[in-house]
């Protein structure tokens, strides 16, 4: 497990973490885990990089640079003035050793450490289709892309990807009634 950052905003259904290092965020659709009394699992649905101070907006600097990395190399302070945050939708939590696929009684506290999930954590969550329901029924922006990425991440834990996709498809159809186009969109992006 790799420690990614600290929770800096938290609510019943989502939390936001600030990365320890600029651009060192998990990828869209990745599963992440917080510490705390109720270790909480979330799927990354938004990644944001911007100025540490909201009143100081980044401005173009590369006009006279040959390569993009030269902008950072010639302005080493930038890495201290920018930040990368990511937001995760909560899909479950642990009560003792038991994994529960609903919201924790309280969200993870501010400054909880956020980690990547190892295989032991990820396998059962990916196999549990109720997570798909949580994602599919949320009103988050670009959630179709998030679901596609989440399913793609699950491939490496499957013996038979086709069978896995069929199961996923069935659950998506049942969770998104009357939204076949949306389901088709999600599944197409899983394989492309």
């Amino acid at each position: 497990m790799v420690r990614l950052g600290d929770v800096i905003a938290t609510s019943t259904g989502t939390f936001t973490a600030q990365c320890y290092e600029l651009y060192h965020s998990p990828a869209l659709g990745d599963l992440v885990k917080t510490n705390g009394h109720y270790p909480t699992f979330g799927v990354v649905y938004n990644i944001y990089t911007g100025g540490l101070d909201p009143t100081r907006k980044p401005t173009a600097r590369g006009q006279n640079e040959e390569k993009e990395e030269d902008v950072y190399n010639n302005n080493p302070q930038l890495k201290h003035l920018l930040r990368t945050d990511f937001e995760a939708i909560i899909v479950g939590h642990k009560m003792g050793s038991e994994m529960l696929y609903h919201l924790p009684p309280v969200p993870p506290p501010i400054y909880s450490f956020v980690h990547t999930c190892d295989e032991e954590d990820t396998k059962p969550i990916i196999s549990n289709m109720s997570v798909l329901r949580t994602l599919a029924t949320s009103n988050l922006e670009a959630i179709e892309e998030v679901i596609s990425a989440y399913i793609r991440n699950g491939f490496k834990y499957q013996l038979d990807n086709t069978e896995f996709l069929k199961t996923v498809g069935v659950h998506l159809i049942s969770n998104l009634p009357g939204e076949l186009k949306k389901v088709e969109y999600i599944l197409k992006r899983v394989t492309r």
């Binding site: 101070d53 100081r56 950072y72 190399n73 010639n74 302005n75 080493p76 302070q77 930038l78 890495k79 201290h80 003035l81």
Partner: protein
């Protein structure tokens, strides 16, 4: 009530007309003074300065008035250290007497292994002893507030810069930069007793300069201070001594012209001209002027081998003033390093040295911060069951009512 902006607009329009008139006058003066800058004999003016007694400040001129120097090469591997400060003054309406100095520190290394470190260090002064500057061997003291607190802040900035240089142990060519002047002007002309100047300069500021000087003997370290949009007139004042403007062989303003009002004196032709106006005409982007030596009384009396020199620098959109101690001025490599590194810093910072900009951002205490400071202070007093009475005036400002 909010400001009656319509009323102000009319007054601003009136002021604009006056400024237009003044501009015409200013351009005439500028052309005349610029011609004098190019045509004056620097050796004659310097000789006259040393034998004259003027009531305006004239710098020491070593070579020429109008020499200029191209932008030197900047070592690819170099570092810039910068420090800036901000403070919250004593507020007599607060429940306790206290003040705060916040120092922002920046270290940026450029080249093969670029890094940056940014930090800030707030220090609260609340003990009675902390809030007073005491005489070393005596019982006199001066309360740290107003301009004196500002002066202490400037001193703390220099101490922090020396600390930062010692902490970073930089061995690449390094520019240590501070905002404003290396001359503690805020204690000049004030009616402070001598021990205040002795404490601030002899015990604190000058030892910090000496630490930096000591390091500069081992590693290429150049100390400089940077003044954006300087208002100084020292070089323009030197032109007043030119034989065409001052007919006396040894000028003595009080004796020769003491009975004349301002505008009647033969040297009054350049009154509107600041040094930056002259060097804006003389310098191309990236060039620096000749260096001049400050002859301010505080430097001459206290600064010893740290005597302050200054030059003007065209950084693109403005002429800035760079001040350096004697030991940087007399070392061509270090002098060129200040020139090249400051121009590069201004390029990176879009007109202002980027390291100073970040040091300022680290140090700045916003109005919101000041309000938070007040709240935290009052809450701490309440939590500890201590009196937290604030003045009725303060209370009335905070609780707006009809």
């Amino acid at each position: 009530m909010s400001l009656d902006i319509h009323n102000v607009v009319q007054q601003i329009e009136g002021a604009t007309n006056n400024i237009r008139e003044q501009n015409k006058f200013y351009h005439e003066q500028l052309n005349r003074s610029y011609d004098t800058l190019l045509g004056s004999n620097a050796t004659e003016i310097e000789a006259k300065r040393t034998s004259s007694n003027t009531n305006f400040l004239i710098p020491g001129i070593s070579k020429s008035l109008s020499s200029k120097y191209k932008l030197p090469d900047l070592p690819e591997n170099h570092s810039v250290l910068a420090v800036d400060g901000s403070h919250i003054d004593i507020d007599r309406h607060l429940p306790i007497q206290c003040c705060l100095i916040n120092i922002g520190k920046v270290h940026i290394r450029y080249g093969d292994s670029p890094i940056a470190a940014l930090s800030n260090h707030p220090r609260l002064f609340s003990e009675k002893e902390d809030l007073q500057l005491h005489e070393t061997n005596g019982n006199r003291y001066q309360t740290l507030e107003g301009p004196l607190l500002g002066a202490l802040r400037a001193v703390e900035e220099m101490i922090s810069l020396a600390d930062l240089m010692e902490e970073t142990r930089s061995d690449t060519p390094t520019l240590a930069l501070i905002d404003g002047s290396l001359i503690l002007w805020s204690i000049v002309g004030q009616t402070y007793p001598d021990f205040v100047r002795n404490r601030l300069l002899d015990d604190m500021f000058l030892p910090a300069l000496a630490r930096l000087h000591k390091i500069s003997r081992a590693v290429p370290l150049a100390l400089a201070s940077y003044i954006s949009l300087p208002r100084s007139k020292e070089v323009a004042n030197a032109l007043r001594l030119d034989k065409h403007n001052c007919p006396y062989q040894n000028a003595n303003c009080s004796i020769h012209c003491g009975s004349l009002t301002s505008g009647e004196r033969p040297c009054d032709g350049f009154t509107e001209i600041m040094d930056r106006n002259l060097f804006d005409k003389l310098l191309e982007v990236g060039e620096r002027s000749e260096s001049f030596m400050s002859t301010s009384s505080i430097v001459e009396r206290y600064y010893d081998h740290h005597k302050i020199h200054f030059y003007y620098l065209h950084v693109g959109n403005e002429i800035s003033r760079v001040e350096i101690p004697e030991w940087v001025h007399s070392n061509k490599y270090l002098l060129d390093l200040t020139h090249a590194a400051i121009v590069n810093q201004c390029d990176k910072g879009r007109g202002y040295p980027v390291a100073l900009m970040e040091a300022h951002e680290q140090a700045v205490v916003t109005n919101h911060d000041r309000e938070e400071f007040r709240k935290v202070l009052e809450e701490a007093l309440m939590r500890n069951n201590l009196p937290n009475y604030t003045s009725e005036k303060n209370r009335s400002k905070r609780t707006k009512w009809l």
